[in-house]
């Protein structure tokens, strides 16, 4: 994301996606290409999928990035990878909070309460806990090299236990999320895409846009952290 054209392109892309997501009308029987089908019980509230889901997706991408940079730090002992790992995790936390807040606001209107302990709500809560623990650990270690090592190790251990949530959650809890339909398949965190084709298109466009936005922000964060370090060492 070095050139200006790419940045302008991304901004345009996201603007278009957001406009489409908010403005396209919802009608009972869609005829034109821009009309979304109305979903009984969700109506206009269905639009959250274009924002909330990409945010949740981005936190996962961020976590994987933090983990991979953690592994690379352990292999090379180059503190720059640690810096990237923290930057990834920091942005991941932000997106995680955003996804939790938007999801819980939506849940208030659709399910009647802010929090329902549905499997996916629980998994994002756990991810939030992992991020919290990661930063709590970092703040408890003084020496930078040690901090980098310990937090990388923690991120990796948290990473390998995450798949177990996927197996465990649906056995314990019942799903409320759209897509669950009360069937055991839908209660899992992995969901089939059953959507009108035009909605699906906007949805994937948004997913792509958010992912690129994340990498742009990540790039900025890494560069600003490097500058901060340089300034500190000059003082």
């Amino acid at each position: 994301m070095k050139s200006t054209t790419a940045k302008i392109g991304l901004v345009l892309w996201l603007t278009l996606v957001i406009c489409a997501a908010i403005l396209f009308p919802m009608v009972p029987a869609p005829e034109k290409w821009y009309e979304f089908p109305i979903i009984p019980g969700l109506e206009e509230k269905a639009r959250i999928i274009f924002f909330h889901v990409p945010m949740a997706w981005t936190t996962v991408v961020a976590f994987v990035a933090a983990m991979i940079y953690g592994i690379r730090f352990l292999m090379t002992k180059n503190l720059d990878y640690d810096l990237r790992s923290v930057s990834a995790a920091g942005l991941g936390t932000m997106f995680c909070i955003l996804a939790t807040v938007t999801g819980s606001l939506w849940a208030k209107f659709n399910w009647g309460s802010f929090w329902n302990w549905d499997p996916r709500e629980t998994s994002i809560f756990v991810l939030l806990l992992i991020y919290g623990a990661y930063f709590a650990l970092r703040s408890a270690v003084d020496v930078e090299e040690k901090r980098a090592t310990l937090s990388a190790v923690y991120a990796i251990i948290a990473g390998v236990t995450v798949p177990f949530f996927i197996f465990v959650m649906p056995r314990i809890m019942t799903g409320l999320h759209p897509g669950s339909k009360g069937d055991p398949q839908g209660a899992g965190p992995v969901v089939q895409f059953k959507m009108a084709p035009n909605m699906l298109l906007v949805f994937f466009a948004s997913l792509l846009g958010f992912t690129l936005l994340y990498f742009w922000l990540f790039n900025l964060k890494v560069r600003s952290s490097r500058l901060e370090l340089q300034q500190q060492s000059q003082e």
Partner: protein, 224 residues
């Protein structure tokens, strides 16, 4: 294999011997169990509480009792300044396996104690399928020991050891806690042993995965 395992066994023996002399972890663990059980008994009283809730509470007691004792293995080395001594006489893997085994024995005996006291003291907690229940206690102890050991190793190197331990271990242990609670519920419902096989499968694979990743990463944590 002989060279590989013998040092681990002696690390375990050293820790057990030391524990018997100092009772660093044991006293804290026992006091916690007694206090927590008494509190549960007071608050439950004669009220009717569902077995679901009771099997949940059992593992809450076990989780927090474990918290107060399991981190001791590495923290005590760090506090006494013997970490470097141990580094100079054994491979990291031997130390990890020795400590892992020590934690396993500690948590298993704690769990059996808690489970027996719990069944005796709370009348409504009836185990209809003992085979599921005891298998859960055993495999749950394996899983708890595996994750608590590597977390303890991380904690020992940080500044605020006590408060950090539950914070770091909770998200890691949550899948296993949910699984053991579910398995315990099956045991109280009188399910057939085969119905709980899925739960056991999760516990076994969780233990293997966490122990493997611990062996791979412990070296980084152990040597500064």
């Amino acid at each position: 294999m002989k060279v590989f395992s013998a040092p681990a066994i002696h690390v375990f023996l050293k820790d057990s011997h030391s524990e018997i002399r100092t009772r660093y972890a044991l006293n804290a663990l026992l006091m916690f169990v007694v206090t927590a059980l008494a509190l549960v008994l007071f608050s439950v009283g004669n009220d009717v509480v569902g077995t679901d809730v009771l099997s949940g509470i059992l593992w809450v007691i076990i989780f927090f009792s474990g918290m107060s004792g399991l981190s001791r293995t590495f923290v005590s080395e760090e506090e006494r300044g013997t970490t470097a001594t141990l580094q100079l006489i054994a491979r990291p893997t031997s130390v990890l396996l020795g400590k892992l085994f020590f934690n396993f024995v500690l948590i298993l005996s704690l769990n059996v104690l808690v489970a027996v006291l719990y069944i005796v003291m709370i009348n409504r907690f009836v185990i209809l399928t003992p085979s599921i229940f005891w298998a859960t206690i055993f495999l749950g102890s394996c899983a708890l020991a595996s994750s608590s050991t590597i977390i303890a190793a991380i904690i020992a190197k940080a500044n605020t050891k006590g408060t950090l331990y539950p914070v770091l271990s909770f998200p890691i242990m949550l899948p296993l806690l949910l699984t053991v609670m579910n398995a315990t519920r099956l045991a109280t419902e009188g399910a057939a042993f085969s119905e709980a096989l899925g739960e056991f499968q999760i516990l076994v694979s969780y233990t293997v995965v966490v122990v493997t990743i611990s062996i791979l990463l412990f070296g980084f944590v152990w040597k500064d």
